[in-house]
Every structure is written in structure tokens, then in C-alpha cells.
């Protein structure tokens, strides 16, 4: 700085320089001021330009894009929380509860908010009990890859666990406790195939819901009825989902409720099913494989419908774990198969009463006509259709043919009637087509005809094909449900009702009842004396000399019944079927159909015992006990339930 001053001083010393410098200084000063003011003005215009740009930007955001941002702000602010409705109850004919709901706390993880899942679950397990089973189930739910906001790691927390977690909640971001409704089936396995089960909504369910146009109603629902009544009546049971519009803050906490619509509970199903009868049937049936259906003939209402083995539908309500799922799926007993509706079996000798009725109605046989049974039937060639009794039944008329279950009689009858007459007449009882019961997945069975064989095998029907159809074998296949339905139609003297499990649907709001199928859907024209003849013969089946005499002993009411045996493996022409020498699973299936009281039936029953041997020994006693309970209120004495193979009993 001193340097500068010195040079200035030096300039001062020379007058010319001084004058020139002063002029320069003054000129410069003036110029500086002008320059400054110019530049200040320039800045002022920059300021105006920048503020104009800013205001333009504000105009763009606040006016032009206002609607867009308004929507975003509303989306920020308002979240719509679905309120899942109470699922409708399922009640039996005496209003006993078969399915209801209970609320329970679940621990749920929202993966998008949580960090590393494995570590998180390990830490969680220090606070609440988490079993390997829970982990597997959680993985399964995640792997199924739905757009779940959260997946449960634990269900049914105890109060203590809830409290413990609440105290530690801060350690677990993305983990919440939710109160959810769960389905509960108080009777466990009993009637499991009727009720079905609930499962997580999967892709196929979503597609179906979209087709039905009810997808929005399932916002917030994680489970859906899969099979049985839960599946079939899903739309009645589910109810209408309610909504709550809540204002939430940035942390997702609800600040206040803006609007809400209460959910409407699902409708209740009032069944024709009698839970006590069902229970008796299942107890009496024991651990064997098979099916039982009991129908009220005058309405078509199902009184009991059982398929064994069953399953515990409660296993499914909070998502079944893979272990149990494998167990159910891979068991050789196929517990998830509904044998009553999906199992098809040759009807065997239970087919005979319908053949006999056809003979009378179509005039192919008169009651007095009889044959001499040599123990086989032949069409003149070398092939012999053998009677189950090698020596034959002697002289056999229509009545006796049913009582002793003579095969030879029906071989000849079938041959005389021809396949198409059989198809036409017996078909009226429901063989060969679905009964239309209100559970999905029913099989249609098979009642053969010429047309069918041509379609199926591109072959013409040979007269020989007809012979075994007469005794319910050959191409003949029926579900236990079809047998029960045919029996009910017979008991009802030809009046056909569509079988149904649900008798009434009760509106959850008004309590109004809607009845299902109260009207008959068909009428088989039958002469009453013909029906009477068949009934009398079937009553004698349970009398001394009949094939089911054991089951009929001591009955306080008249029972009309018919035993049957369905072959599992073919027996060669010169071989004898020896029950004791073959594998248990290759033994014949035992069948029995019955209705009682014979002259004014209130119950019709069909029983199938897989590999049970003869209908008389294993199936008929079950039907008897079920009818005893239904008609007399008699509790069954529980005995050993294994198949007792009796050599003497024949079919």
C-alpha cells in the first residue's frame, strides 16, 4: 500500500502529470458512477426477469397443473381402508353351528417396510413364539406372490404375546398386530367335505372374482371359500365389504375418519343337514374309507353326507402349512377327495331293484315269471356269466331275485330288455348324470348306451355288453350320491327333487329366509303296485333269507334295502374270488342302499365302504344304525369298526 501512495506522491511532484491524473480521476469517477448506475439498472432488469420467470413457474404449477397436484394431495391425505364383513354362519337343521367366525390377533410383516426378513424373523422369535411351521407358512404366502401389503408370520397370538410385542414394537419396523376374523369349524373333521374350507385367494380365484365383477368387494379379504358349501355359496356367505375413508398423516397414522360405509354381514346358510345324524354316521363308519349319504326323500334335503377319510378344515383357516398340505395331498387315502360326489364305482347289485322296476314297468317280466338258476348265464357260446353263488339259487322269481340278489335272473333280464331300454328307464332315476347337488365338483357317473359306446370307443354295442350291465357291472359307474338320489326317488315313488344341502338362506340384515329347491324337478311315471312289489322285496332283503339279514335283525320299523358289491379287480373265467387271499385294497367295495320306514319313507341312505367286501357285512349295519338314530333317536353302540370278513355272507 505504501508503494501505491509513494507513486501517487511522485505524480504529484510533476504539475503536468498531476493535472492529467486529476482529469483522469475525475473522468474516471464520473464514468464509474455512470457505469455503476448502468450496471445497477441491468441488475434490476435481471431481478424483474427472474421474478417473472418464478411467477410463471408458480402459475404453471398452481393453475395449470392444479388438478394433477390436487389429486396427488388427496391421495396423500386420504386412504381407503376396507372393512371386511362378517362371513355368514352355517347352521344345521336344528340351528347347531357348523361354521362361525372369531376374532384373533395376528402378527403381520409388510416386506416393503421391513428390512432383511430372515434377521427380522429371528429377532421377532425372541419376543413371540415362532415355530418352523410358521416360517414355512410365511414363506409360502410370500412365494405365492400376491400383491399382499402384509403377510402373517404368526396367527392367534395370546394376550401375553400381544402385550410383549407391543412393548417391543419400536424394534420392528414393518411389523404390526392386526385383529382379523377367522373361520372356525367347531366339529372339526365332521362334515368336512360338506362344509369345505377357506383358503388364501389365489390367482385363479382373482380371475373368477373378476369375471363375476365382484373383485372390489374383496378388497381387504385374504381368504375365500374353496370347496364344499364355503366354495359354492361364497357369494352369499362373504357379505359386502365396508369402507372407511380416513385422513392419514405422512406416517400412515389415521387422523380422523371422513366417511365410512359399514360392512354388511354375509348371509347365513341353514342346512337340511342334521349335524347329530352326521356325527353318528361318521362315528359308526369309523376309520374306513368310503361314503354315506342320507336324504329326506320328500324334499331332496341332504340329512347327512360323509366322505371318509375327511380332514380338519380348521387347518386351512389361517393358511395351511406345507407339511400338513403335503400330508393331505399325498396320502394314499386321498382325504381331500369327496368320495360321495367324485368317487365313481360300479353300482353292483344295488342296481337290481331299478332293473326289476324297469322289467315290471316295461312289461318285460311279470311278478310270477321265474327262472331255474344253474349258477350261470350264457348266450349259447362258451362264455358263462357266473352267479355269485356257484351252485345257483334254484327257482327264482322277481321277488326272490332281489332278496337273494340272484345274478342269473338279471343277466337274462338285461339281455331281454336291451341296453337302450335300460338306459332310458334307469336314467330317469339319475344314473349317468349329475344330481345337481349344491356342492361343486360332482362326477357324472356312467350309464352306458349304444350311442355312448359309439362315441367313446367308435364301436358298436354287442349284445354281450348288456349282460353285466344288468347287475350293475360292465360299463356301469355311479357315484354314491347318485345311488342315494336314485334310492330317494324310488322311496318317493318317482317324484324327483334336486338334492340340496342348503335348505334356506337367511338374509343377515332382514332375517328373511329364501328356500332352495322346494319344488320337485321331475316325476318318473311308476305304477304304485310295481313300486310296492319292489319295496316288499327290498324289505325281505333284511329278513331271514335275505342278503342283509344281519343288518335287519330286531328292527322296530320296516326297512327296504339292497346290498351290493363292486368289483375292484377282474376275476378270470375259471378263478374264484377269495377275499382272504388278495390285497386289502383290491378287495371289493361294499354297497348298501335303503329307505325307511318302507311304506312312508322319511330317510333314504346309500353307503359305500371301499374294499369293505360284501355290502351285507360292512355297509348295511352302518345304514341301520344311521336310520335307528334318525327314526328312533337310538344312540349307536360303538364297536370295533374294522371290516369283519364273514365267509357266510353272500351277495
Amino acid at each position: 500500500m505504501k508503494l501505491f501512495r509513494r507513486s501517487a506522491l511522485r505524480r504529484d511532484t510533476h504539475p503536468l502529470v498531476l493535472a492529467g491524473a486529476r482529469r483522469a480521476e475525475l473522468r474516471d469517477h464520473q464514468k464509474e458512477l455512470q457505469s455503476f448506475q448502468l450496471r445497477l439498472g441491468l441488475m434490476a432488469s435481471v431481478i424483474l426477469a427472474v421474478f417473472s420467470a418464478l411467477l410463471l413457474r408458480l402459475f404453471y404449477v398452481q393453475v395449470i397443473q392444479h388438478d394433477y397436484y390436487h389429486t396427488l394431495a388427496e391421495n396423500n391425505r386420504i386412504s381407503i381402508v376396507p372393512i371386511v364383513p362378517n362371513r355368514g354362519l352355517i347352521l344345521d337343521r336344528n340351528s347347531a353351528v357348523l361354521a362361525h367366525n372369531y376374532a384373533a390377533y395376528t402378527l403381520e410383516i409388510t416386506p416393503s417396510k421391513a428390512g432383511k426378513l430372515e434377521g427380522l424373523i429371528n429377532e421377532l422369535s425372541e419376543v413371540v413364539d415362532i415355530t418352523p411351521r410358521d416360517r414355512k407358512r410365511f414363506r409360502k404366502v410370500l412365494d405365492e406372490g400376491h400383491d399382499f401389503s402384509s403377510a402373517p408370520i404368526r396367527t392367534r397370538l395370546s394376550d401375553e404375546e400381544v402385550a410383549r410385542f407391543a412393548a417391543n414394537k419400536y424394534r420392528f419396523p414393518g411389523v404390526d398386530i392386526r385383529a382379523r376374523l377367522f373361520r372356525h369349524y367347531p366339529n372339526g373333521e365332521v362334515a368336512s367335505h360338506v362344509l369345505g374350507y377357506m383358503g388364501r385367494i389365489n390367482k385363479r380365484d382373482v380371475e373368477r372374482l373378476e369375471e363375476l365383477g365382484v373383485k372390489p368387494n374383496y378388497a381387504g379379504s385374504d381368504f375365500i371359500g374353496k370347496i364344499g358349501l364355503e366354495g359354492r355359496y361364497e357369494q352369499e356367505l362373504h357379505g359386502t365389504t365396508g369402507f372407511e375413508e380416513v385422513e392419514t398423516d405422512a406416517g400412515g397414522r389415521a387422523v380422523r375418519t371422513l366417511r365410512s360405509r359399514l360392512p354388511i354381514s354375509g348371509n347365513n346358510l341353514l342346512l337340511s343337514l342334521d349335524a347329530r345324524l352326521q356325527n353318528v354316521a361318521e362315528q359308526v363308519f369309523g376309520n374306513r374309507r368310503g361314503a354315506l349319504i342320507a336324504i329326506e326323500p320328500s324334499t331332496g334335503g341332504i340329512l347327512a353326507l360323509m366322505s371318509k377319510p375327511g380332514f380338519d378344515p380348521n387347518l386351512f383357516v389361517d393358511g395351511i402349512d406345507p407339511q400338513n398340505w403335503d400330508l393331505l395331498n399325498n396320502s394314499p387315502d386321498h382325504p381331500l377327495n369327496n368320495r360321495a360326489l367324485q368317487g365313481v364305482y360300479p353300482p353292483g347289485s344295488t342296481f337290481k331293484p331299478f332293473m326289476a322296476l324297469a322289467a315290471l314297468e316295461l312289461g318285460k317280466r311279470s311278478p310270477g315269471y321265474s327262472i331255474a338258476d344253474p349258477g350261470y348265464f350264457s348266450l349259447g357260446g362258451s362264455h358263462r356269466w357266473r352267479d355269485w353263488k356257484q351252485a345257483g339259487h334254484g327257482v327264482v322269481d322277481l321277488h326272490k331275485s332281489i332278496v337273494v340278489s340272484c345274478d342269473t335272473y338279471y343277466y337274462g333280464l338285461a339281455h331281454d330288455m336291451g341296453i337302450d331300454n335300460i338306459h332310458k328307464f334307469v336314467g330317469q332315476f339319475g344314473f349317468g348324470k349329475r344330481t345337481g347337488i349344491d356342492i361343486d365338483g360332482e362326477a357324472g357317473g356312467l350309464l352306458p348306451s349304444e350311442e355312448w359306446k359309439m362315441k367313446r370307443f367308435k364301436q358298436k354295442w354287442y349284445p354281450g355288453d348288456t349282460i353285466s350291465v344288468g347287475i350293475g357291472q360292465g360299463y356301469n359307474l355311479a357315484t354314491p350320491m347318485q345311488l342315494a338320489q336314485a334310492t330317494a326317488v324310488l322311496a318317493n315313488r318317482g317324484v324327483v327333487f334336486r338334492p340340496h344341502i342348503v335348505r334356506q338362506i337367511q338374509n343377515s340384515q332382514s332375517g328373511a329366509l329364501t328356500s332352495i329347491e322346494p319344488q320337485p324337478i321331475g316325476h318318473v311315471q311308476l305304477a304304485s303296485e310295481n313300486v310296492q312289489r319292489i319295496t316288499d322285496a327290498m324289505v325281505d332283503v333284511l329278513k331271514p333269507g335275505g342278503t342283509a339279514v344281519v343288518a335287519g335283525t330286531g328292527a322296530e320299523y320296516r326297512i327296504a334295502g339292497k346290498t351290493g358289491t363292486a368289483q375292484v379287480i377282474g376275476i378270470k373265467q375259471n378263478e374264484r374270488y377269495d377275499e382272504r387271499r388278495i390285497n386289502e385294497r383290491h378287495r371289493d367295495h361294499a354297497l348298501f342302499i335303503a329307505y325307511a320306514p318302507a311304506d312312508a319313507p322319511t330317510i333314504a341312505v346309500a353307503v359305500l365302504v371301499e374294499n369293505g367286501g360284501h355290502g351285507s357285512s360292512s355297509a348295511a349295519p352302518v345304514a341301520r344304525k344311521v336310520m335307528d338314530f334318525y327314526l328312533l333317536g337310538k344312540e349307536p353302540k360303538l364297536e370295533r369298526t374294522e371290516t369283519v370278513v364273514e365267509d357266510s355272507a353272500g351277495d
Binding site: 455503476f36 413457474r57 408458480l58 397443473q65 391425505r77 387422523v255
Partner: protein, 364 residues
């Protein structure tokens, strides 16, 4: 008695500036009340800050400019010493070394440089009034560059750019050759890629976020998106005082401080914004007027720089909130909650008043 007191108090206060400042402070308190979730504590604290800052302003207004001129270099040198101390002993918070703990108080020396740099440059150019040569600008440039680079090293890019801007305004107004202005401008543009490569990751992130906030809606883009929603949903007339949902439901971050403009915009709409911008423009216009009419080069330059710095704060903040500038921590002058910025802003405006009122006294 009271009249005389008022006259005494008002002697060096510029009534135009005070009116606009008062209006902005009131608007700020009203907005703060809403932004803080109707907290009287917050508003009370800010009112306390305002009282302190107004006293500072009044004191500054009463100091004649030539005293300020004498203090210029000492303030600048003190600032430099503190910056060196920060570099050596500063506390590290969030990866940056910005604060100095003096035991009694923690200070951020870079704040001091916001006024220190223009003061020193104005002093320097005034010292060599009328014979400014290129070397003077070079020396001025170095005086500016040293603190700017030190602050950038902390790192605090936002503040260093603001200090650089304040210095640049002085140099530009002092008459830096247009060739150099244009040349430096072009060079700066050419250096942008270099600057990009020198930037820290979080700084690049901010720029990227500005270009496309939806890239990371819950992370870096969150501020920008939520602010835009607040502005946009406010519309023409706003949602009304205390009715801003973005603010009241916690969607807006930093809503009492850097993003208070978003709260104001949401509740008072475009019309409110026009009034607010007008008030700020009035303060800036008055500042330019004072600068224009200032009697010495020092006061001209200082007044111009203070005004332009004030303008820069307003624009950077509003630009950030409305999504045209990256998110940098610049509060909105006179409105954002916080004592430090309020005191330094009102101190600057007090100097403006001093320049205006002392000139008037000298003339009369």
C-alpha cells in the same frame, strides 16, 4: 415524551424498508403458526428472534457508514481466522466440517463471510476509487476466492456459492470489464463438467433429483415432490390458513424452515404468492434505490451487494421450493424459522438503512 423517543428511535430507520420488512415478518409469523401445527411456543420463539434481530438492525442503522467501513477489514480477517480454525478444529456433522465450538456457543464462520466478503471488497474498491485497474480486480477476486474455496472444502457448496455471489455483485458493480464478465461466465459454463466431477455424491444426487424427482420419490426426491404437491394443490386461492393438508399431515418436510414457502403457497395460493413476491420485490427495489443514491463508492457497492444477496436468497429458496433449483439449505429471508439467518438478514438491511439515513442527514 413518547413522541420524542419514537423520533429518536426512528431517526436512522428507513420507514419504507421497515414497512415492507414488518409486513413480511408478520406474514412469516402467521405462516409459522400454521406450519408448526399451531404451536405458540414456536411462534413465541420466533417472535423473540425477531425482537433480537430488529435490535441488531436498529443498531446497524445507527452506525454511520464510515464506521462500518473501518470495521470491514477486521471483520473479514476475523472471518478468515475462524475459517482456518474450522478447517483445523471444526466439528464434523453429517460428513461436513462447518461448525466451530467455542465452548460457550457454536458458530458457523461461513455465515459471517456472507457479509464479510462484500464488506471487504467494497472497502477495497472504495480505497482505490477511480483508478481501478485490472490488478485491483484480480486482488478483489482473490479476496473473494479464498473464503469461497475454504467454505467449499468444508464442504458447503450452497453457502460457498452464496458468498461467491455476494462477492461477485461487488466486483461487477465496481465496474469489472465486460470482456472479463463474459469471459469468466463462458469459462464457468465450460467448467461445469469439471465441477460435476468434483462434486460429492450427495450434491450430484440433489441435481439429479431436480431433473427427475420421481426417480427416488421416498428418498432424495421426496422434498421436491411433496413441495410441488403443496404448491399445486394450493391452486389460485389456496386452501386457507391452517387448512393446508400437506403441511398439517406432516407430508412437507422442513416446513417451518427451508420449506415454509410451500406452506404459505398451499394455504394462500397463487394470489398470496403474488402479494408475497411483491413485498420481497419492494424490499429489493428499495435496496437498489438506496444503492443508486448512495454517496460513496463503498456505500453504493455495499448497498448493491446486500440487496442482490437478499434477492439471491429469496430466489434460491423459492426456486428450490417450486422445483426449478436443487434442494440447498437456504432459508427464505424474514419468513423461515430460525434466529441466525434472521439476525444476519436484518443486520444487512440495517446497514442499508444506515446508508440511506446517514446520507440524508449529511445532505440536510
Amino acid at each position: 415524551m413518547i413522541d420524542r423517543l419514537l423520533v429518536y428511535l426512528g431517526r436512522h430507520v428507513d420507514s419504507y424498508l421497515l414497512a415492507a420488512i414488518g409486513a413480511l415478518l408478520v406474514v412469516g409469523l402467521i405462516t409459522l403458526y400454521s406450519a408448526s401445527g399451531e404451536s405458540f411456543v414456536r411462534v413465541g420463539n420466533q417472535a423473540g428472534n425477531i425482537v433480537v434481530a430488529l435490535v441488531v438492525m436498529w443498531l446497524a442503522a445507527n452506525v454511520p457508514p464510515h464506521y462500518i467501513q473501518r470495521l470491514a477489514m477486521p471483520v473479514y480477517v476475523l472471518g478468515l481466522i475462524l475459517l482456518i480454525a474450522v478447517a483445523l478444529f471444526g466439528e464434523i456433522t453429517n460428513g461436513a466440517r462447518r461448525w466451530l465450538d467455542l465452548g460457550v456457543i457454536r458458530i458457523q464462520p461461513s455465515e459471517l463471510m456472507k457479509i464479510g466478503v462484500p464488506l471487504a471488497l467494497a472497502w477495497y474498491f472504495d480505497r482505490y476509487e477511480a483508478i481501478l485497474k485490472l490488478r485491483d480486480f484480480i486482488i478483489g477476486g482473490i479476496m473473494m476466492a479464498v473464503p469461497v474455496l475454504m467454505i467449499a472444502e468444508q464442504p458447503d457448496l450452497g453457502t460457498s456459492l452464496l458468498v461467491a455471489a455476494a462477492g461477485f455483485f461487488v466486483i461487477f458493480l465496481a465496474g469489472l470489464s465486460w470482456k472479463i464478465v463474459v469471459g469468466v461466465g463462458l469459462t464457468a459454463l465450460g467448467c461445469l463438467p469439471l465441477l460435476w466431477s468434483l462434486m460429492h455424491d450427495y450434491q450430484r444426487q440433489r441435481v439429479m433429483t431436480l431433473l427427475d424427482p420421481s426417480q427416488d420419490p421416498l428418498g432424495a426426491g421426496y422434498h421436491t415432490i411433496q413441495a410441488a404437491i403443496a404448491l399445486g394443490s394450493g391452486g389460485l386461492f389456496g386452501k386457507g390458513w391452517l387448512n393446508g393438508t400437506q403441511a398439517h399431515l406432516d407430508f412437507l418436510p422442513e416446513r417451518t424452515t427451508d420449506f415454509i414457502f410451500a406452506v404459505f403457497s398451499e394455504e394462500f395460493g397463487l394470489f398470496g404468492n403474488i402479494i408475497l413476491v411483491t413485498l420481497f420485490l419492494f424490499v429489493i427495489g428499495r435496496g437498489l434505490f438506496i444503492s443508486f443514491n448512495a454517496s460513496t463508492l463503498f456505500t453504493r457497492l455495499l448497498a448493491g451487494a446486500i440487496t442482490m444477496t437478499f434477492f439471491t436468497y429469496v430466489v434460491v429458496n423459492m426456486g428450490m421450493v417450486s422445483g426449478v433449483l436443487p434442494v440447498v439449505g437456504v432459508p427464505l429471508p424474514l419468513m423461515s424459522y430460525g434466529g441466525t439467518s434472521l439476525v444476519s438478514i436484518l443486520f444487512g438491511l440495517g446497514i442499508l438503512m444506515s446508508i440511506q439515513t446517514h446520507k440524508r442527514l449529511v445532505q440536510s
